[in-house]
Assembly symmetry: C2
Homo-oligomer: 457 residues x 2
């Protein structure tokens, strides 16, 4: 594969860049046409890579791209999952380059070459590695498996349409393993394979005080300010141990055994490096757990956005009518997203003081999941990455969520295998998202080797 | 005056509307040209109304308009203060009409005719009454006083330039009383005269966690979220009695005697009506004080604006780098704005946890003040308004702030007299600001009668 990359690099970039230039932002309704364009471009790339067929399927939301190559009906089938939608690029002023015009350039901190663009890693860059590893295996006559591809356009908004579409297309999607590159590894010196991901409950809350904005001089001190009230309500959502103070929140959380915690603690982690990377003076999390545990095996609650009152230039003295926040809760097995969403809603409505009204709107949700480490697929991935990186990958728990993979386990009975090649430095979901060329190429090599080591029968 | 109004009403509207159409928003730097245009229009209107001269003076900020009419050098001089700048109109989507295109129309709730426009009341509408009362007194040969006018363009941002300009023009501004219409009365059935106003400290705070926006899945639970932290810090700014929990905040607050409180309690107030007007289930304020006292004689702290993270459409899962808030504190005699600003800054920096950095920026400030009730000017205003409204006005304490009037007392030695004709229904600083025609005309009549009853020598 190394040689194939060297010979075809420029074409790879051209093809990937044609995807990256399409602002396929699923969170924004006015990008519907971009979603369609991106799906069609992907289908074309699938056929160019050697798929027997590739189709763009409509769904209730954005289209799903499905493609397949049948090599041997009696062989095992690998289902590759990825998503072509991306996060909104805001805040725009923090980008050093145009968020939708990919460029290759050095990392200002390390000098390492990377692709800079929204989606360079998450997930266009990572799914593209699969297209090219497949192309290489097929064109070099080494492909022994049947391969199917499913690329959706709603991962960043919680995959609302895909479960229904999977239900309706179970036969089409039948496979032995689902290969996914949409996560990070610990570092490019310490490869890791995710053996679990967190679930998600994402809600938007609105606190309303008076029915109109008021002069803060005439009313301040006598009328509850909904921003102050929202702040107080949010502050009350954690207790002194930084545990989420929603009654029932931890009821279903699986406490890991000392042995399991020791196994996870094998992953190297340097707290000082971590703080220095983030430029923070201190970490903060649930009492009694390490930083890695806090993002891997423990749930949490974060305010992802807040707004209310006057946020423009200068000093406007207003006691506003409304205050808003977007709140995300990351969940662990066996917390159910639907139950946590309900518990949060009930709690938030219950703690609303009599001087405000609250509204809670559900935005997105999905359950977490665990992946068996002893499987053929895990072993093949571990051997493949070990060969590329020169060191055996560590099993790790991902803090993020790919809600739809838990659904896939339930609907199709297929376990996901998370071979992710992102790094923390890639700052996905943030300005200046990028993807190191070294990881981009190492990912392709690892995937090609996965096909080599994963038994075809 | 009544007859004069009836004969000239259409011209009055045309003149006032020419001021209202200029978006003289002092909080926004890109409105400099509008400020200049508005100042020049005002100077022209002063001369048309009969001033001997009117000049637009440059300052370090927006220009000051000064005009005067000398009738009798041995007579008393009345200095009229007003401001031609307005608050930003946002949120724009809540306006029923264009915020800078005045229209006359009925109040949807009561049917009473009003002028609808940003600045219709605050303060273009109210200062305009002074131009026309002056014009009437002069043209009808009744004016016995010398009159000076000073109109500034920075009241809504705390009058940063006017004190220095007043220092440099003390002689020009020499007067016996400063007449101001920039406040409200209790209701159009219960006229009142403000005998004190609150001071203001307005600050902007910024809380920074990690130096970049992070994926809330990868870091959530382990890295402090600056929005959560800001909410906790804001929540901690009030204690269980809704007192401001900044150490030293109340040290200089003058506690009123039981007698003074009883005097202020004469003003009629219906809590149920108040709650119904604001559509709130409960009021909220400092334990031990009535609603009127909470806005009149007690200081308070409000968040006027808050923002951070993702505030667009849909669900973006981000652990943001920064969170911001604009915080206003209304002050009472003898709290000094400069001292309170310092106390707040020190407190806010002190309570910042080690996992965030905070910045506190001062935006605006000014002291409160009290006005002697026994003066000639107060008596003349009381008699004038009593005659127009058929009931003796009540002395009241205004909750708002006109920072520059305390400065004027100090620099020029002139007491302000606050004859305000606004009503709570006018929703100044909010969408759909308006000014009842009945108040607009009653104000002109009251001002004309003030000149009649205020001794000229």
């Amino acid at each position: 594969m190394k040689q194939y990359i060297a010979q075809n690099k420029e074409r790879f970039f051209d093809e990937l860049f044609s995807l990256l230039r399409i602002p396929s932002i699923s969170a924004k309704a006015d990008h519907k046409e971009d979603m369609r364009r991106c799906a069609e471009r992907l289908a074309a790339l699938l056929v160019e890579a050697g798929a027997d067929e590739a189709q763009v399927f409509p769904t209730d939301g954005n289209p799903v791209v499905f493609g397949r190559k049948t090599v041997d009906p009696s062989a095992r089938t690998v289902l590759v999952y990825g998503h072509y939608d991306v996060q909104p690029p805001e805040p725009l002023e923090k980008w050093r380059t145009d968020p939708f015009e990919p460029v290759i350039g050095p990392d200002p901190a390390t000098g390492a070459e990377a692709i800079w663009c929204r989606g360079a890693n998450d997930d266009k860059g990572q799914l593209f590695m699969h297209l090219k590893a497949f192309e290489y295996m097929l064109s070099s006559g080494q492909l022994k498996h049947n391969v199917k591809f499913i690329f959706e356009g709603e991962e960043e908004i919680g995959s609302p349409s895909l479960p229904k579409w999977m239900e309706e297309n179970k036969e089409l999607l039948a496979a032995d393993i689902c290969l996914v590159s949409d996560t990070t590894m610990i570092s490019d010196k310490v490869p890791s394979i995710n053996c679990g991901m967190r679930g998600l409950s994402y809600l938007e809350v609105k606190v309303t005080g008076p029915d109109k904005d008021l002069h803060s001089g005439h009313y301040g001190g006598a009328v509850a300010n909904p921003i102050n009230t929202l702040c107080e309500m949010i502050a009350s959502l954690h207790d002194a141990d930084n545990r989420v103070a929603v009654p029932g929140f931890y009821d279903k959380v699986v406490e890991l055994s000392a042995e399991d915690r020791a196994q996870l603690a094998r992953a190297p982690f340097d707290l000082e490096e971590y703080k220095a990377f983030l430029k923070i003076g201190e970490v903060r999390g649930e009492t009694g757990y390490t930083t890695m545990e806090r993002t891997g095996i423990r749930p949490c609650l974060d305010v992802c956005g807040i707004w209310g009152g006057y946020t423009g230039e200068g000093a406007k003295t207003v006691l506003p009518s409304e205050a808003h926040a977007k709140i995300s809760m990351r969940l662990v097995p066996n917390q159910r997203s639907s139950e946590i969403t309900r518990l949060f809603r009930e709690h938030f409505e219950r703690i609303a003081p009599p001087y405000v009204k609250v509204e809670v709107k559900e935005c997105e949700g999905g359950d977490g999941f665990l992946i068996p480490i002893g499987s053929d697929a895990y072993k093949a991935a571990s051997r493949a990455m070990g060969e590329v990186y020169g060191i055996e990958p560590v099993p790790a728990r991902g803090g993020g969520s790919i809600a739809v993979l838990a659904e896939m386990q339930k609907i199709l009975g297929i376990d996901p295998l998370l071979m992710g090649f992102g790094l923390e430095r890639d700052t996905i979901h943030s300005p200046n998202e990028s993807y190191l060329l070294s990881q981009f190429f190492a990912g392709m090599e690892s995937i090609a080797l996965f096909y080599k080591y994963y038994p075809a029968k």
